[in-house]
Symmetry: C2
Subunit: 789 residues, 2 copies
């Protein structure tokens, strides 16, 4: 009896999905269907929609039966109609958007708004309550789901994985996230593979292998898969209901077993393979082509409506809307009873609006973790190491609200103090796993060699109200640039959705930077991630280049308190000179840019030249250049400017952190030469500053993706032996002319006051470059004396 109602509820969903794609008017088919009832432009993805609604309504049943807290993650998010339909029917959509009311008028508004200018998106978007991911770029549903249930012990993420999506790399590896799920403290993911057989224009691989291969694959991934299929609709519904019960009972018993015994273990988590026809319930054949159960049902199954108006009407009437909705257009009362109530509805569950649950982090006192810097340039430190201690304290103070993520580089990145709390691991262990960075089911650092997976886990974790930080090599950050891009678009739109509460920012720490990929060589050298991100939404993106350990601490301290942003923090892990004590660092990080007196000359006067830097290694080189210049030309007035917050260079009309032109000019002057030593591609600085007064005097050095010497320094060519990608740090700097000698020469060449005076100094610098190269080629290392300059 209940099952019959579930079928009807699902039919109502399917009816709504078809309506969203086709109907402009006559939403309840009270009149015969006429051409003017059809939208002028037919848009939307039908194919996945019936399967999405099907799973949603069956999830509703178990939520009620077992009093569960669930969220629903529709991997094939193109099938937005299949997700919008049930969230409309359970009333949430009407609560957030009153014009989508529970009546004929509301239905009409909903149909019209779908995939219509100014209306609802064609995929799942932040506008939809219950949604925690954009449905455009495929592959991230599972890692989002696992991230969502970490430290949410009573949450089940019902995750529909499309069999198309399953072919993507990020999804194919995300199945293994079960090795990081602790049934004592974490919730559960219930994956439902929607095996409907087709993508846009092709069958799916998983639908065209034998059942034993299919089942073995998921057993190999560590699940206990159950196949749900059948020849008749009712049979599939019955099997699905039984299987959902079984899955939920398995999950609850695993939870209970682990929580009662307090012994964490890795269960064979249940999963469902739902084999139903693509575009189920559409006409099977039109114009000699299959629709239902074929790829032609992927988007709009019948496009030539003029010709097939009758077919469309029959299709719509096959759901018998008059039996599903009352006269006024409201869902039948006994069907309405099927949906969970209040915040048990998956579309109204606060887990899917994570900002509601977000508790600000308890942060340690910076003064307890800052390093002592009595005088600039006198102490050396690995910049990331104190950050490791800071993050360790953040973990201590927020034992279930903060995690560190990384693709196996947290140790290499000198953040290993966080390992005091262990690394998460729910697979087999060996005695030696107690060595540094011990493995534990209760660890707080999540490491797996998939940038996609750790990024997805972090996104899922913060989307559901928590905090985190991902550390990775700068050179491999581009692996996730499209993923971060999609998340940025989500944040950009979500920030404008009034009922979405702000979530914690996505904090990405990029280290092992381009300038220390000398020995890994050319392929590890890529500062391009910054560019990819800076091109995007100004309200979301921040990029920080802390020059030393204390400024890094202050920067992360700020980032961990911010919301709805993507914070990129770029800093090297090797030992470098320190400049700022804590008080100066706080000021510097907050302001994002500053004049450094200790590296300047004649600070109070208008300078002859501005030497600017952004990035820890270019900063060091630029400072060393200034020290040499001060020695050589005591009358040269140098102003040294350091930039932490890259986007403060942008005009304030384009970025909220941008400096006004007046402020910009006060740092960079209106007419003096500026030598800018930058961490990344030099043209990025030009792009940010090309509207500034003094832009024509701005000379930028940076990484040039170039294994040959720059055109300004061909005198070095004879001293560049061989052509391999291997260099030393200083040699790499010289190749790109961000080194101290090149910067000093730049200044000599650009400052009018020094015309005719710099010849012998420049010769000296050139000789020092040549010696440095010769030393590197002889010993394979940089002359250690050069660090003592």
């Amino acid at each position: 009896m209940e099952l019959k109602k579930i079928v009807d509820y699902w039919k109502a969903c399917c009816y709504l999905s078809v309506g969203m794609i086709y109907l402009w008017d006559n939403p309840l088919l009270k009149e015969p269907l006429r051409k003017e009832h059809i939208k002028r432009r037919l848009l939307g993805h039908w194919g996945a929609s019936p399967g999405i609604s099907f799973t949603y309504v069956h999830a509703n049943r178990v939520i009620n039966k077992y009093h569960l807290d669930c969220i629903f993650i529709p991997g094939p998010g193109h099938g937005a109609p299949g997700f919008i339909a049930p969230i409309y029917l359970e009333g949430t959509l009407s609560e957030y958007y009153p014009h989508f009311s529970q009546d004929e008028e509301g239905l009409k508004n909903l149909f019209r708004a779908f995939s219509f200018p100014g209306g609802l998106g064609s995929h799942c978007t932040p506008d939809l309550p219950g949604s925690i991911q954009e449905g455009g770029e495929l592959g991230y549903s599972l890692s989002h789901a696992f991230g969502a249930v970490f430290d949410h012990p009573n949450l089940i993420a019902i995750t529909l994985v499309g069999d198309g999506e399953a072919e993507t790399g990020p999804l194919a590896t995300a199945w293994h996230c079960n090795k990081f799920l602790n049934p004592i403290r974490d919730g559960a993911v219930l994956p439902v593979l929607l095996l409907n057989g087709y993508k846009i224009n092709n069958p799916t691989i998983l639908a065209r292998i034998e059942d034993d291969e299919l089942l073995n694959l998921f057993r190999g991934y560590g699940y206990e898969p159950k196949l749900v299929d059948g020849l008749e609709k009712m049979e599939v519904h019955e099997k699905m209901a039984q299987t959902m019960d079984w899955c939920v009972e398995r999950i609850l018993s695993f939870w209970e077993e682990a929580r009662t015994s307090q012994k964490p273990f890795r269960p064979k988590w249940p999963m469902i393979i739902l084999r139903i026809p693509k575009g189920w319930t559409a006409p099977r054949e039109v114009d000699g082509h299959y629709i239902e159960g074929y790829w032609r049902s992927h988007q709009v199954p019948i496009t030539d409506v003029d010709k097939h108006l009758k077919v469309l009407e029959e299709w719509l009437r096959s759901y018998e809307p008059e039996k599903l909705f009352d006269e006024r257009g409201k869902l039948r009362e006994d069907l309405r009873d099927l949906s969970p109530k209040g915040s048990k509805r998956m579309s109204a569950n606060p887990y899917a609006n994570g900002g509601l649950l977000r508790i600000p982090l308890k942060l340690p006192e910076l003064k307890e973790l800052a390093i002592s810097v009595q005088e600039p340039l006198k102490t050396f430190y690995e910049n990331t190491r104190p950050l490791g201690k800071f993050l360790r304290e953040v973990i201590r103070k927020n034992p279930d609200n903060f995690r560190v993520f990384g693709p196996d580089e947290t140790h290499s990145n000198r953040l290993h103090d966080v390992f005091e709390f262990g690394k998460v691991w729910i697979a087999n262990v060996l005695p030696e796993d107690k060595d540094e960075g011990y493995l534990s089911p209760f660890g707080r650092t999540v490491e797996v060699l998939s940038e996609h997976t750790v990024e997805g886990l972090l996104e899922g974790y913060i989307l559901t109200g928590r905090h985190g930080l991902l550390n990775t090599y700068e050179g491999f950050a581009p692996i996730i640039s499209s993923m971060v891009n999609q998340f940025g678009k989500w944040l950009d739109i979500a920030s404008d959705v009034p009922w979405r509460m702000p979530i914690s920012s996505l904090n990405l720490l990029l280290t092992s930077v381009v300038w220390r990929q000398d020995h890994n060589g050319f392929t590890h050298q890529d500062p391009g991630f910054i560019n990819a991100i800076v091109d995007k939404w100004p309200n979301v993106v921040r990029v920080y280049f802390p020059p030393d350990a204390n400024t890094l601490l202050c920067t992360v301290w700020m980032c961990l308190q911010s919301t709805n942003r993507i914070n990129i923090i770029i800093v090297d892990k090797q030992s470098h000179p320190q400049y700022l004590d804590l008080q100066s660092a706080i000021k510097h990080a907050e302001k994002g840019i500053g004049i450094w007196d200790f590296a300047s000359n004649h600070v109070e006067d208008e300078p002859d030249v501005v030497v600017a830097s952004c990035g820890d290694i270019p900063t060091k080189e630029a400072i060393y250049a200034c020290l040499m210049l001060r020695d050589a030309f005591p009358d040269l007035r140098i102003r040294f400017v350091n930039v932490v917050n890259l986007l403060c260079l942008t005009p304030n009309s384009e970025h909220p952190d941008g400096l006004t032109d007046r402020d910009f000019d006060s740092y960079f002057t209106k007419d003096k030469p500026v030598i800018f030593n930058f961490h990344g591609y030099p043209w990025l600085i030009h792009r940010l500053t090309y509207r500034r007064t003094n832009h024509s005097n701005l000379h930028v050095r940076g990484y040039r993706e170039n294994r040959k010497i720059g055109i300004d320094a061909t005198y070095l060519t004879p001293f560049l032996k061989g052509r391999g990608g291997i260099t030393t740090p200083l040699q790499l700097a010289i190749l790109n002319q961000i080194d101290r000698f090149s910067i000093a020469m730049d200044v000599v060449e650009r400052v009018p006051k020094l015309q005719g005076r710099g010849g012998s100094f420049k010769d000296k610098l050139k000789n020092m470059q040549i010696s440095a190269l010769e030393y590197a080629y002889t010993y394979g290392v940089d002359d250690p004396n050069l660090e003592k300059l």
Copy 2:
């Protein structure tokens, strides 16, 4: 007996690997090891090296035994020592680099050169004979391998997959490539999973699950896995030899069965899981920490050599170099006999230097495929459709030398004429698969919903001497931006390696462009891939924006003949006006930039304004703007410039296709306003042109990643209803001000001659914009009359 020699050969490899990491001198340990024999900087990855060499020497055995043609793809390419060692021992390295001779001096040179400035890379690089992929970024070994054996029926790619690499998404999904391998016409991939248990700092997932899960996983992927392990070294060697024999015999019998019967089928291809300790043969424990069989063996296992010189010496001597090499430093003669000879050596096999095998494509006559364009602007065409016919003919003429690749969008991208030759599919089929785009084991289009996989397959295909083209949505191209980046670095270096013959270019066709993602919305809008690529190596990268169907044909025609490049071609698939007949298109595509008379006014004079465009949709809008301007101001001298080859805008000192300043000025004038309508982010044009004479007069419109109206058009704000990501094409253009009306207004505002004259015209344009928006909000489509302008 032979096995004992194989063990010795492998020991020689291991000795060389340790030597490369540590030894500066005393390469044969003829003297006791002293501090001065050690390199000053210890670099390199030991952990994977023994496993790489192990597999290599066992591959050698079967090559000899079965007379095979094999290449070797070391997925864990960080372990370069393990790959360099056998290619040195078999003589190839010495042939290419005579100073790495087969004697003590050559050994010393090799040890010194490894990971040393100007020497050999720390990972597998193009400098190494036999290598076809860079070892830096992990995840691409399997897709490269499958691409390499497509249409190479006698080639076996022995592919070592690291258990770390196996965690990446691209690798996790690439196992499924066996569904595209036809045993009649393709070779075989023999995957060897190197299950050595650890990554940089963590265990690997696959090493910490039960054997039944592990084996099921690979059975699920469609393989017949064999586990090779053992307690004693000899036992592992024995098992490996037996298993390699079994694998090769399986492969040969599958080939024979399929080729004899001429009935293609999908075998359960054999694969090996090689479970050996990480860093095998290193000391087990140093300073209370495990080395061998633990993650601490990943890079340099013993770093404090001052303290542990004795341990290192014992380790080196454990290989008994005096028994492996003769007095002069040459490998023992009976061991030398073990390696295959000549081009059977995997390091000398021409398949791994694909340019040697490359046969230029036979191309169809353009005139047979060009569309007829009598007069500009009068005919409309889907730009990509004629290209589909062209590619179909390329397939016809090159039945085993060219393939089309795509992630399930070839049909959607209007290239479906290539389906005349079917889509590759070696999995189950259904009767309906005969519908448009039929599936066939002999198909020539490869589609799988993983951008990573199709990119990797195409790379593998061209790396081994063939030709291809990948088509994908522009918005999802960023998914592979890091992968394309790595390939570009490979090409950049490979172009400088004298013995590497040029390979076909990587041709990427990006369609479903940003300007037609109105209905898919904000998340599908991303022209950022262009930026990511333009930032890279000038000798490799080309970016083309053909404005119409014929120019597209000519552009692809050129790209398919080029070598060692990455050609990005960006064009929309929807119906657009056509401008050029074939002759004009050939000229335009070759030159890369041109003045279009039909859109200009008073061509012979110096213009009042230059209207320029790059990209098919911005071009259309800019032309429509010019037509309106000509009507309104007959005395206005407009020059219309269209750019196909984006990088011609770059100074010729920075890019081989760059225009000289003189030529640039001849197009863009020295002092007239230039309104530039661009496909991508506007600042990219500024970055390319900021050094040009007339840059300060250059006003660029383009995509601004912005859902709100630009600051110059706030009068439109009241007409922008709602805030969803859905728009119409013209509405999207207006939002970003690349529309005809905005461009015309820009001209009116910028041309001195029109000062004070443009008021009523601008009012008219504004009203047209407002009407267009109102129409879009009313009907969900653009006013069809606007296309008839």
